[in-house]
């Protein structure tokens, strides 16, 4: 077997906020009718999470389920756990109009933490990050400068950022510039 590594291979940068490669993370795309009881039951049994509300995440026992679109969820879990989870979900959804795919190696994940988190991300995404508007558990699919990206706010003001693996280096470099210690704006402090 080849030795799987994340695209940034553990890179990190410390400035206004700490930008860090989250390493290998398991991700599963689940498409289907989100209002279907069978789908909700399968997701609950396999991940312990309920179906999240619009633009929210549900996180239980290390699994995170994110609302991607009216017919799509993203399940974030351990990298080692993915194949087993895909198999379980697929068998639970047999006969349903649903699709379960392991996309772990197509994506990359970074974390952003520290006091400048909101400000750093606000420089690259067209989203209002004020504390009233963007709260823990909120999820957003948008763009990060010129590429598609998504993020949610976890506990302790830690932002989890997802992008395609092919642009992982771009996103890291982008956040590095935005988080440079000489680049303070001070808008969310």
């Amino acid at each position: 077997m080849s030795n799987a590594v994340s695209v940034l291979n553990g890179a990190s940068f410390d400035g206004l906020a700490e930008v860090k490669d989250a390493g290998l993370v398991g991700m599963i795309t689940l498409r289907g009718d989100l209002s279907s009881k069978a789908l909700a039951k399968a997701v609950l049994n396999v991940t312990d999470c309920t179906i999240p509300d619009v633009r929210k995440v549900a996180a239980v026992n290390g699994n995170t389920v994110a609302w991607m679109s009216p017919d799509e969820l993203l399940i974030v879990t351990d990298y080692q756990n993915v194949d087993a989870m895909v198999a379980k979900l697929s068998s639970a959804l047999a006969g349903e109009h649903a699709l379960v795919v392991n996309v772990s190696d197509a994506r990359s994940m970074l974390t952003l933490s520290g006091s400048g988190t909101r400000e750093v991300l606000a420089k690259v995404a067209p989203v209002d990050f004020s504390a009233e508007q963007f709260q823990p558990g909120d999820f957003r699919r948008t763009r990060l400068a010129q590429v598609a990206g998504a993020f949610w706010l976890g506990e302790a003001e830690q932002m989890h950022i997802i992008c395609f693996r092919s642009v992982g280096q771009y996103v890291f470099d982008l956040l590095k510039v935005a988080a440079h210690s000489d680049a303070v704006v001070g808008v969310y402090t």
């Binding site: 619009v54 633009r55 991607m68 679109s69 009216p70 067209p126 957003r140 699919r141 948008t142 763009r143």
Partner: protein
């Protein structure tokens, strides 16, 4: 900057998150139609000064297509609505009529006036 609210995810998305999809509510003329109909379907587009209906896609977001009604003169947005329809919702048409009396756009128009723009007698 144009800001449209995506009817699927509720995001007030600004232009850079969206992709323009051209004119809304086109009726397709495919195989078997006359050359004139096919030509008009392919090439003839509205270019109004005022009320306009368009298709947009929330491309850097939930990825869904939706419809938007806006004014090309003031960039005022009258509203957005689902893509799974061939006519704008009546409530939206009424709201436009209130703001732009006498408007017309293809087969849609202010219901309180006739097509030549004159007030219908009470």
């Amino acid at each position: 900057m144009l800001i449209l609210e995506c009817p699927y995810c509720g995001v007030k998305a600004e232009e850079t998150e969206l992709q323009a999809g051209g004119e809304a509510h086109l009726k397709r003329f495919g195989p078997g139609s006359s050359d004139d109909d096919f030509h008009d379907y392919l090439f003839m587009r509205e270019n109004p000064k005022g009320v306009h209906f368009e298709r947009w896609r929330h491309v850097n977001g939930c990825g869904k297509w939706f419809h938007a009604a806006r004014c090309t003169v003031t960039l005022e947005v009258f509203g957005t609505y689902t893509a799974q329809t061939s006519t704008p919702p009546q409530a939206l048409l009424d709201a436009i009529s209130e703001k732009r009396p006498g408007w017309t756009w293809r087969e849609f128009a202010d219901a309180s006036t006739s097509h030549n723009g004159e007030e219908v007698a009470d």
